[in-house]
């Protein structure tokens, strides 16, 4: 017992690791996908925050003794017997214990116990005759139909210093309790077992007790004995051994339980030893428990990585397809181009373009036939509408391809079920693109105005209006003669030719390609931005699921906490 003094001062090496572990688990609880994973992380977090940390800091704090059992197994009757008063209502209706009760001496109910009580919704009952250094908790049924009861019971298992496991001759082979016992074993909490409602027949009675012991041994639960070694103590209580006045089991029948508790009360050494053994076993069990969570994070990380890749691939593919179709220039409606061609071919533009005698002829003609009014704004808007329709088409395809790939995956399907908008381009995309294109056209107009002050040809263009020249430049980005062979020459190429002629007359041949090239780059930037936004929706839908740093941090901290025990 030399190291007791050091131990009771806490295990400082462990404390830091446990703090890290608690932080990691908190962030896991916040981000875990699905109820099951969240609960698993949350129970571990409670184990670390509400048991390991306070226990490592102080081995002498009162022991939390939790009575754990199935619905109807008689936990409340046992508690009443141990306390010697009717503190917890027991009854024929299942489940009985709705508000779990903690009984202890007034001075033992503060500190960690107080915190646990608040979290688990325990009702604290101060009892001046209670055993000092112990707080007894009557947990709710862990197999109850009430989900809240189950959650509270499993949470209490995580914070207990000592578990009194209560079962019955009917129940001892039920599956749910054995799942709970499996967790108790993993965290190494010292334990006592009470086997209630044994049949009167002596042969049957021994058969049941023997079968139960065999199950305990097979499940390696007997290693949890309070005394350490020597097998788990099973206290057998026959059917009908009751003390009805306080709704309790016959105190005589449960005397071994009371005796075990009294032994702990009598000796602080004994209490500390139980606390230390429980703590050491729990710390040793931490890496295994954490592995279950970290393994889930790993699995999520792999799955989520694939999902992100799928989104990236789809959007890169559709962006390329969009560029190609933009490059072909055939996405503009013929009506739009015809309108523009008619405008350029007539009226003052024709006059502007013609030279020598033709110019005079055009001037004379324009006096009689004024030519159509400039459809600059209409044509530009129609062209933008076509471009937006094209972009939406490609964004929709990318969304569909991504969502189809995602729907085959668990996390992908969950994200899709949460946000059905992921099946298509976002609703705001058309408006966003329109706004971007308007700004782009505005930028082009500004540059034309700038150039106008520098070039004479452009000063002449003033008579045409910046709007007309701007629309011409916009169309030049979309339609050009390159790549079209004679046979295909249609309205697109025809418009490109006259449009090009107009721009060359204004800017000079050499400047046109530079000007249009810059406008084309700006347009690409607008589309890239929109595409990034579309793709990022998928990243956001996955949240921080599967953070690799989290899995690493959890494992590191767990290993370090376990190492502190051996040191």
């Amino acid at each position: 017992m030399d190291d007791d003094a050091r131990q009771s001062a806490g295990t400082p090496g462990a404390a830091e690791a446990l703090e890290r572990l608690a932080r990691g688990l908190r962030s896991r609880v916040a981000t875990a996908p699905g109820e099951e994973r969240r609960t698993r992380a949350d129970n571990l977090r409670r184990h670390v925050e509400e048991y390991l940390l306070p226990r490592a800091a102080d081995l002498d704090a009162p022991l939390l003794v939790v009575l754990l059992g199935s619905t109807g197994s008689g936990k409340s009757s046992l508690l009443n017997a141990l306390v010697g008063a009717r503190v917890s209502p027991s009854g024929v209706l299942r489940p009985t214990t709705r508000q779990p009760i903690a009984v202890g001496h007034r001075e033992d109910l503060g500190g960690r116990i107080g915190a646990v009580a608040e979290r688990s919704g325990l009702e604290l009952r101060a009892d001046d005759h209670a055993r000092r250094g112990l707080v007894l908790v009557d947990a709710p049924d862990f197999d109850s139909v009430e989900a809240e009861n189950r959650e509270r019971a499993l949470g209490l298992l995580e914070v207990a210093d000592l578990v009194i496991f209560v079962t019955t001759a009917t129940r001892y082979a039920d599956q749910v309790p054995w799942e709970v016992l499996g967790r108790a074993r993993a965290r190494g909490v010292p334990m006592l077992a009470v086997l209630n409602r044994l049949p009167a027949d002596a042969v049957d009675r021994e058969a049941v007790i023997g079968d139960f012991r065999a199950l305990l041994e097979r499940g390696k639960v007997d290693e949890l004995a309070v005394a350490g070694g020597g097998g788990l103590e099973v206290v057998a209580v026959d059917e009908g051994r009751l003390r009805p006045d306080i709704d309790a089991l016959d105190p005589e029948a449960v005397a071994p339980v009371a005796a075990a508790l009294d032994a702990l009360v009598a000796s602080a050494e004994e209490r500390r030893s139980v606390a230390r053994r429980g703590l050491a076993a729990a710390l040793r069990g931490v890496p295994e428990s954490i592995e279950a969570v970290a393994g889930q994070v790993d699995e999520e990380q792999r799955a989520v990585g694939e999902l992100r890749d799928a989104a990236h691939r789809s959007y890169a593919h559709s962006r390329t397809a969009l560029s190609e179709e933009l490059g072909r220039g055939t996405f503009l409606r013929a009506e739009v181009l015809r309108q523009w061609q008619d405008f350029i071919g007539a009226g003052q533009v024709a006059r502007f373009l013609a030279e020598g005698i033709g110019r005079i002829a055009a001037t004379i003609r324009s006096l009689f036939v004024p030519g159509p009014p400039a459809p600059a704004t209409e044509v530009r808007e129609a062209a933008f509408a076509d471009l937006v329709a094209l972009a939406i088409h490609h964004a929709d395809s990318a969304a569909q391809r991504t969502a189809t790939a995602w729907s085959a995956d668990r996390y992908g399907a969950a994200a899709l079920a949460e946000d059905e908008a992921l099946w298509r381009a976002s609703v705001g995309l058309p408006a966003e693109l329109h706004a971007g294109l308007e700004a782009w056209a505005e930028g082009i107009a500004n540059r034309i105005r700038e150039l106008g002050t520098q070039r004479k040809g452009l000063a002449q263009a003033a008579s045409l209006g910046v709007n007309v020249v701007g629309t011409s430049a916009v169309l030049a980005v979309f339609v050009h003669t390159g790549g079209l062979t004679g046979a295909e020459v249609g309205i697109t190429a025809a418009t490109a030719v006259v449009n090009q002629k107009l721009l060359e007359a204004l800017f000079g041949e050499a400047n046109v390609s530079a000007f249009v090239g810059r406008a084309r780059e700006d347009l690409a930037a607008i589309l890239d931005r929109a595409w990034d936004g579309e793709r990022d929706r998928y990243g956001r839908a996955l949240g921080s699921t599967g953070d690799p740093a989290l899995a690493r941090e959890l494992r590191d901290a767990a290993r370090e906490a376990a190492r502190a025990v051996d040191a």
């Binding site: 109807g72 009917t170 129940r171 039920d174 076509d386």
Partner: protein, 535 residues
């Protein structure tokens, strides 16, 4: 055989619904429903003179003890250690043993015990393994057996009537509430005052699980209390045939409802289209408008008019006009401006497919969002095809090509007549020009040619008059030709454009939304299977 005429028809509808569900991507749901249909077929094949009733429950509640008490002898070993019963045991009336052979084999029941209780001749009682012990195999066995069993008596005891797992079973059995009984065993452990309280609590919980009027028997297998009454009630239960038929009908209805729910149909509310009709019409119109913008009917009209004019000129034009037409043909100008067929075929160069595809896609996504989230992805996948764009292009291609083949640029006798007159006018013109030429040459040289004297009509020399008349006649003929060809051209253009517009609109409406139509048709089949028929 059981007489289940209406059931047969209903099962046939279920089978149709299964195929329909498969066609819209609900594979898993369809497989489940198909299994139910097959199960119904198997069970009805075994006949309905005896119904199978299982004793189910958690470990230790006394299923075997209840059976033993009913029999008055030990049928199934009941022991203290848990769990006891490893495999189902059947307890049947001796005379029925033979006819039950196939059914018990189907149920994979190997141990069968017989009895002579005449009152219980129509029921075959199965003692099942537990549903909640550490032996997973027991639960698995019960889970595969329960769906094949006609009626269930669930045994509970005062300690074990509120476990979460048991409630999960009860909720699942709720559609079969009419054939469910509950036995509260070990009543001897309860004080007389407590019994009513426990039964009331149990009843309340059963109602919460979806079993509105639960039948609860309070018995004690140890003291024998309530056992006689239970036996009488079992013997008095409805006719076996009725129980079997009702069970199968409940199975069928449940399977059909599950399909309906997955397909976004509320079985109680009837079928609503996934996409409201008004919204659908709106999107169809949008897609048609998009396709028509590509086809470019006004452009097509121009081409047709130009082509008619061209043809009129080649037949009825003046000499100059014919020359120009020939030049147009040779330079390819005609092909560009007056070839409606080629113009139609080149629709792809006149805009992007987005305007057609975006509304189609919007329709599919909006339709799918009317289905429950688990089905949504699969239905959407069934709705859309990866080749949607190519398919739609083919649809428009086909429509335009058909219109192009029908395209006939007409001829007119009038044009030939005008052509002949133009030839005459041309000949006159050349003659008059030659005459004048000779006069000028002769007059100019100053040589008196004697007889070469121009006749005069009034003050004007005849050759000049002829020349002017020829030019005037040619111009008037040209004007008439243009007027007529323009009129014909406008008529033909209107007809052709109208035809193309109709063909494209019809094709887009029919083919672009064909998957949506198929899904709706599948939903009609599923709704028919789930419909609450007049009972």
């Amino acid at each position: 055989m059981i007489e289940i005429g209406p059931l047969d028809e209903a099962v046939a509808r279920l089978r149709t619904a299964v195929e329909a569900a498969r066609s819209i991507g609900l594979e898993a749901e369809a497989a489940e429903a198909r299994q139910v249909a097959r199960r119904i077929g198997r069970r009805s094949g075994f006949g309905g003179t005896v119904y199978v009733m299982a004793l189910a429950g958690g470990t230790g509640v006394g299923k075997s003890s209840v059976l033993n008490a009913l029999a008055g002898e030990e049928i199934s070993p009941a022991r203290a250690i848990r769990p006891t019963t490893d495999a189902p045991i059947a307890w049947v009336a001796t005379p029925r043993l033979l006819e039950l052979g196939g059914l018990l084999e189907w149920l994979k029941v190997e141990r069968t015990l017989t009895h002579q209780h005449r009152a219980l001749a129509d029921v075959c009682i199965l003692d099942l393994p537990d549903v909640d012990s550490v032996r997973d195999a027991h639960r698995a066995m019960v889970d595969t057996l329960l769906p094949r069993i006609d009626a269930v008596t669930w045994v509970v005891d005062p300690e074990k009537y509120d476990d979460a797992r048991v409630h999960a079973y009860w909720r699942e059995l709720a559609p079969h509430a009419d054939r469910l009984r509950f036995v509260l065993n070990k009543a001897d452990r309860l004080a007389p005052d407590d019994r009513a309280t426990v039964v009331e609590d149990l009843r309340r919980r059963l109602v919460a699980d979806g079993i509105p009027r639960p039948v609860i028997h309070v018995v004690s297998a140890t003291t024998g209390e309530g056992i006689d009454e239970l036996r009488t009630r079992l013997a008095d239960a409805a006719h076996a045939k009725v129980i079997v038929a009702a069970k199968l009908e409940a199975d069928r209805a449940e399977a059909a409802d599950a399909l309906a729910t997955a397909a976004g149909i509320d079985p109680t509310d009837g079928l609503q289209p996934l996409l409201p009709v008004a919204r659908r019409d709106e999107l169809v119109q949008e897609a048609i408008d998009g396709a028509l913008a590509l086809v470019d009917a006004p452009g097509l009209g121009r081409q047709v008019r130009e082509a008619v004019l061209q043809r009129a000129r080649t037949r009825g034009g003046s000499l100059l006009g014919r020359g120009l037409a020939l030049a147009g043909k040779m330079t390819g100008r005609e092909r560009r401006r007056a070839d409606p067929g080629a113009f139609l075929a080149a629709w792809r160069t006149r805009g992007a497919m987005g305007r057609v595809l975006n509304p189609v896609r919007a329709a599919l996504v909006e339709a799918a969002s009317a289905t429950p989230p688990p089905s949504r992805g699969r239905i959407l996948e069934a709705l859309g095809t990866p080749t949607a764009e190519a398919d739609l292009a083919r649809v428009i291609d086909r429509a335009t090509r058909a219109a192009a083949t029908d395209l006939v640029i007409p001829r007119s006798l009038l044009w030939s007549l005008i052509g002949a007159l133009q030839l005459v006018a041309g000949a006159v013109l050349i003659f008059a020009a030659a005459w004048i030429g000779i006069l000028v040459v002769a007059g100019g040289s100053g040589i008196p040619v004697g007889t070469v004297e121009a006749p005069v009509l009034g003050p004007v020399p005849v050759p000049l008059l002829l020349l002017a008349a020829a030019i005037l006649v040619s111009a008037v003929l040209g004007w008439i030709l243009g007027l007529h060809a323009g009129w014909i051209g406008r008529r033909v253009a209107a007809a052709v454009s109208g035809r193309v517009v109709r063909a494209v609109a019809e094709s887009v409406e029919r083919d672009a939304f064909s998957r949506l139509n198929e899904v709706e048709a599948a939903r009609v089949a599923i709704a028919a299977a789930a419909a609450r028929g007049p009972r």
